[in-house]
Subunit: 114 residues, 2 copies
DNA sequence: TTGACATACCTTAAAATGTGAGGTATGGTG
DNA sequence: CACCATACCTCACATTTTAAGGTATGTCAA
């Protein structure tokens, strides 16, 4: 899905992965909750569908960036995900890439005044 | 390609369009030059191929965001593009969306410390 | 003068990524 | 008991970018 460091980070699309990891870095959450939470925290500026988030969770688990455990909470059966050590590293790497992208975009803006 | 204002701006991919418009807001440029200039100004953090930029230029012209004129410069025949009034509006709109996206991404980060 | 390389434009198949719509099942509420 | 929110999931499709190709011209060195 994203192996080597490329010139163009897969960040022009990969924002969902960054946000999922960020949220899970705070606390364990389940898929449905993540979908709603992103809408809530971004005031609907971003709203990734379940068809985007669930596959990401499965990918992240396959890569051992997260691990999941089913829990019964509030009379509900939910699949809670939490970050692994590897996941924290992955998050740090993505933060880096996101930073690189936004700086790069800003650099082109700045050049207008050169 | 991008008609109505959606919840998720097409900005998770549309960075190339923003950069092209920004560059053209400064001065008239030709396709090949734009491809190289983005690499230069972003220090290769971003490097969109010709297969990405040329189709965008054609799209932008079809939408009357830019107009083109062939000129002979330095013994070279080049197709120079420049922004139209519509193009400036379009640029302003994209700046807005990009700002919304980065703020939204930052908001999720901020929430970690709430 | 010819061979190599950069410039300059373009197209196309394929990969990557996210959307939208669908499906299933459970729990609470009027 | 009907309805809606919760909770999980998948799949076909659309959009967007990549990678690789093609053509033509200009420059420069051998």
């Amino acid at each position: 899905m994203n192996k080597t460091a490329k010139t163009n980070p897969s960040f022009l699309n990969g924002v969902p992965e960054l946000l999922v990891l960020r949220l899970l870095a705070r606390r364990a959450m389940y898929g449905y909750e993540i979908v709603k939470e992103i809408q809530l925290q971004t005031k609907d500026a971003l709203a990734f569908g379940e068809g985007c988030i669930y596959p990401y969770l499965h990918y992240l688990e396959a890569e051992k960036f997260v691990k999941s455990a089913r829990r019964e909470v509030e009379g509900r059966s939910r699949n809670y995900y939490e970050l692994t050590r590897r996941g924290h590293k992955r998050l740090a790497a993505l933060e880096n890439e996101w930073s690189r992208v936004t700086l790069a975009v800003a650099a082109v803006k700045g050049a207008q005044y050169v």
